[in-house]
Amino acid sequence: MTEEQHHITLHVNGVPRTATVPARRLLSDALRHDLGLTGTHAGCEHGVCGCCTVLLDGEPVRSCLLLAVTAQGAAIRTVEGLAGPDGALHPIQRAFAECHGLQCGFCTPGFLMTTAGLLDRSPAPTDGEIEESMAGNLCRCTGYQNITTSVRRAAELLAAGQGGDPAGPWAGEDPQEPVAEAPLAAGPYAPPPGGGVPGEARR
């Protein structure tokens, strides 16, 4: 039994990265184990907890619900791509540190990327929007209060121009290969009907 392998290129945090993976390899596993980007975490592997959230062509997605091969050519942003090239924390990261928005830190990369997606869409979100956007990610430590405070603070820091736009240092670049929309909003990778994946289903 030898599995067929596929060569894929992913544009991760602005850098083209290649990997050879079987068709069943999850994007989360490809990022973590093939590319060594272990900042993206796997908390449930059934699309509910949001720990594995990354930006795929600018939109927050569950990397555990995507096969790596379907992300061929896509622009992916992970938590490792948030800080500036000089290593300075991104305003979203700074806000979470200031407001004690993390404890064990396991869910945190997912919240950071969800926040990046939110503030890119909606730079001055209402409290309701923040709560709604964060309500697709589970955290067992913080009780969420400091997370929503962190998101508000991140919006303030970004509005004050401290560190650029939420989409980060490389965000101005176009993905090097345009990517079809199919894998995201519709098709087999869309969240199940009826709000099974709360944060995403509502969008």
Partner: protein, 777 residues
């Protein structure tokens, strides 16, 4: 003046690394390790008749398949009974891999090692196990097999009940829930054939104990085994359980195969193969007078212990001994039976038996108030222990085998603060206004006392390097509590050094070998005090050496911002890093700084260069071992609204008054409370383990087990009361579990107040509440 950061809202030292995605959680380690999958029992109770691995053998990347027959020596024996107790008359622990019988769905039967997890699961899928299915026992109403039975009694309960002007009886039920950290369990091991050493990484709350357990079970000297807890993605109690089957099997396989081996638990496995807690059936009789004063309390409860009792009967003991809460109980008897069922075993989950205790006591006090038509806060006021009664001896034996004696607290002040914070006295007006609008709102109040900082001990080591870096280590581990920050705050304050210079390592047996673990809200109390004592020892030594160098008396010296100086004449000073150089007399110079400590540089005095009783280096090591636990306390109040149509419960306000003694970092304490309250809300309204009669867990996924999102957890208002503990040098009490304890009790009270329907079970879902209301709103 000193560098006092103790008590400040200091940002966490852990955060920049974790925020960058540079955390090192278990599955982030061992990139090239072989990976493990388990074949687990699909039956709740069955005999294992045959294991056929033939079909798995041609799976690409397969390295090994093991069953119980393959296990050598003590690895083939039942796993340890961690906490024996005379009342645990029928203890039972599992085998690392099932031998003949399986007793719950999820029990490991076969271990598969392969090149990666995908391939290991491929092979596991092809292993055929033949079972003879046996009838399972599920639920307390069907449980009969007693693991333990224990009675504690203070006063003559029967006489006091017989003499009481009034009595009441209650039956209360609490369902199962679980810690459910977002990172599951995991273990990664490597055998270094050159060094003949085994290194085990485990996502655990007790690496020192895992080390000793692995060494004992694998027949290795302790000195050849080291255990590290890397970044741990939440614990909440479940990871204090050890050694898990996986924790001994993976290191064994790594040594046998001479390869790195790793196991990372997946989410379904965490539901069916880790541990749960909470389920109890409680029967209460209470005697009281016409003023609502409690005269006698008699509680009998059944505790669902699941299939095994590896962690002993700690959870029901805690329920028994924490049940009195802040109240004076002239006569109290508590009797429990721990019963076996064919479900996942029970070990502590944050709160560890206390949420059940608070639910029982607080529901009882509310019933007394209702019976007498008295205000619920007033009944509490009449029954609580007064400050002048401290220390207050319950007359019970606590979970550490020592007397349960409340050391400090001002319960009347706490009660005043919580009723002020929530607006208790004004609530009837608000309720009437809401009712006029067709809205049903209700208020609840619940109290708890929490024994924290149980022994036997923790230790701390503090060392100043010649470059000024301060290294701190303690043996217990961290799962998000911010230990690297709070321990650095303690050391910076004790030593008088900048906090940036202090670097804390926890949970690594290579750095500190003796420890107990992180549970029972004990880390700050135990390791915090041990580290403070170690820092004081180091400081005394630094002052002795500096006094010699400055030709001053140690009593005239102070340390400010890392400089030892003569009080009042800051020019007579020597940096602590230079003291570190002088503390280690040298023959060889290896840097500019170290020249000052070489044999022709140091002044020659009488006696040897290292005086007897001293050691080279600027270090301090000490231990904190308390005579008994310290008791934190608090009260929660909540206002809820219940939808008249759907019975959906919305929490309008949630207030907490909390007394954990001196606060090291209020920001971190509040974070702990927030997280605890979220778990309290979860236990009250959402989370339960839905077993069917066959012992199948019907909701073993995050899709079906309703863990709250941001939309379900209310805004939490917090006020602190700080009554320092007299028991330890820092005057602190634990804070980790407090938030969760009164959650079910306070929300039950508020829902009952809003609806007029008696709430005697938790959790309560909208549909259950709808049914309780008679199916109509």
């Amino acid at each position: 003046m000193t560098t006092r950061v103790f008590g400040e809202r200091v940002e966490r030292r852990e955060d920049p690394r974790l925020l960058r995605g540079e955390g090192r959680y278990l599955d982030d380690l061992g990139h090239d390790a072989l990976e493990v999958a388990f074949v687990r029992s699909p039956h709740a109770h069955a005999r294992v008749l045959d294991v056929d691995v033939t079909a798995a053998l041609d799976v690409e990347g397969l390295v090994a398949i093991y069953t119980h027959e393959d296990l050598p020596g003590r690895l083939a024996d039942p796993l340890p009974l961690l906490i024996p107790h005379p009342a645990l008359t029928a203890p039972r622990t599992a085998h690392a891999l099932a031998k003949d019988l399986v007793r719950h769905v999820g029990e490991p039967v076969v271990m598969v090692v392969a090149a990666d997890r995908y391939l290991a699961e491929d092979a596991a899928d092809r292993v055929r196990v033949t079972y003879e299915v046996l009838p399972p026992v599920v639920g307390l109403d069907r449980a009969e097999e007693v693991a333990a039975h224990l009675v504690q009694e203070v006063g003559d309960v029967d006489a006091a009940l017989a003499a009481a002007p009034r009595t009441l009886e209650l039956r209360l039920d609490i369902e199962r829930s679980a810690s459910t950290p977002l990172e599951g369990r995991g273990v990664y091991a490597r055998w270094d054939a050159d060094d003949q050493r085994l290194r085990v990484y485990s996502s655990t709350q007790t690496p020192t104990s895992v080390r000793f357990a692995v060494a004992a079970i694998l027949g290795l000297p302790d000195s050849q085994v080291e255990c590290v807890a890397p970044d741990v993605g939440g614990g909440f109690g479940v990871k204090i359980m050890h050694p898990w089957p996986e924790e001994v099997l993976v290191p064994w396989a790594a040594r046998l195969l001479g390869r790195e081996v790793k196991y990372t638990e997946d989410r379904r496995e965490h539901f069916v193969a880790a541990t749960h807690e909470r389920a109890q059936e409680q029967h209460v009789r209470v005697g009281f007078d016409d003023d609502g004063r409690i005269l006698a309390l008699d509680v009998r409860f059944l505790h669902d212990h699941g299939a095994y009792t590896p962690y002993g009967i700690i959870v029901p003991i805690i329920t028994s001994t924490q049940l009195p809460g802040p109240y004076v109980l002239p006569a109290y008897r508590v009797e429990f039976s721990s019963l076996y069922t064919n479900t996942v075993p029970v070990t502590p989950y944050r709160g560890a038996g206390r949420p059940q205790a608070a639910f029982c006591m607080e529901r009882t006090v509310d019933r007394i108030a209702a019976e007498l038509g008295l205000d619920r806060a007033e009944v509490r006021r009449r029954n609580i222990v007064q400050p002048e009664q401290m220390p207050y001896d319950l007359g019970l034996t606590f979970q550490d085998g020592r007397p349960a004696i409340y050391d400090s607290g001002d319960f009347p002040a706490t009660l005043r603060m919580i009723t002020d914070l929530i607006g208790w006295d004004d609530f009837p007006r608000r309720k009437a206004e809401a009712a006029a609008e067709g809205r049903r709102i209700g208020i609840g109040l619940a109290c708890y006392v929490e024994g924290t900082g149980v022994g036997p001990y923790e230790g701390g080591h503090v060392q100043v390097e010649p470059n000024g870096r301060v290294n701190v280590s303690t043996g217990l581990s961290s799962q998000g509590q911010g230990h690297q920050t709070v321990f650095a705050q303690i050391v910076a304050t004790e030593l008088g050094v900048p906090m940036e210079d202090v670097h804390v390592v926890t949970g690594d047996t290579r750095r500190f070998g003796y420890a107990v673990g992180t549970f029972a809200s004990r880390a700050a109390v135990m390791s915090g005090n041990a580290i403070a004592l170690a820092a004081r020892e180091l400081r005394a030594k630094a002052l002795r050496i500096a006094a010699d160098a400055l030709e001053a008396s140690p009593d005239d010296l102070e340390i400010v911002e890392g400089i030892v100086r003569v009080k009042g004449s800051p020019d007579a000073a020597i940096p602590l890093r230079t003291v570190a150089v002088l503390s280690n007399p040298l023959r060889y110079s290896f840097s500019e700084e170290s020249r000052a400590a070489t044999q022709f540089s140091l002044p020659v005095r009488g006696g040897p260069p290292v005086p007897r009783g001293e050691a080279p280096g600027l270090e301090g090591r000490d231990y904190y071992s308390p005579e008994r636990s310290t008791f934190a306390n608090g009260m929660h109040a909540a206002i809820v609204e219940v939808d008249p149509e759907t019975a959906d419960v919305t929490i309008l306000r949630y207030a907490v008054v909390h007394d954990c003694g001196n606060l090291i970092n209020p920001m971190i304490v509040e974070g702990q409370i927030h997280g605890g309250v979220a778990q309290g809300v979860a236990g009250a309204l959402y989370e339960r383990m839905a077993y069917d009669e066959h012992g199948q867990l019907q909701n073993a996924s995050f899709m079906d087990f309703l863990m709250p999102y941001a939309t379900e957890v209310p805004h939490i208002e917090i006020a602190h009361l700080e009554t320092p503990s007299p028991l330890n040098p820092l005057g602190i009490k634990g804070a980790g579990e407090a938030g969760v304890i009164p959650g079910s009790a306070v929300l039950a009270a508020a829902i009952e107040d809003a609806t007029g329907v008696a709430i005697a079970r938790m959790p309560v879902s909208p549909s259950e509440l709808f049914e309780l209301q008679g199916g109509s709103a």
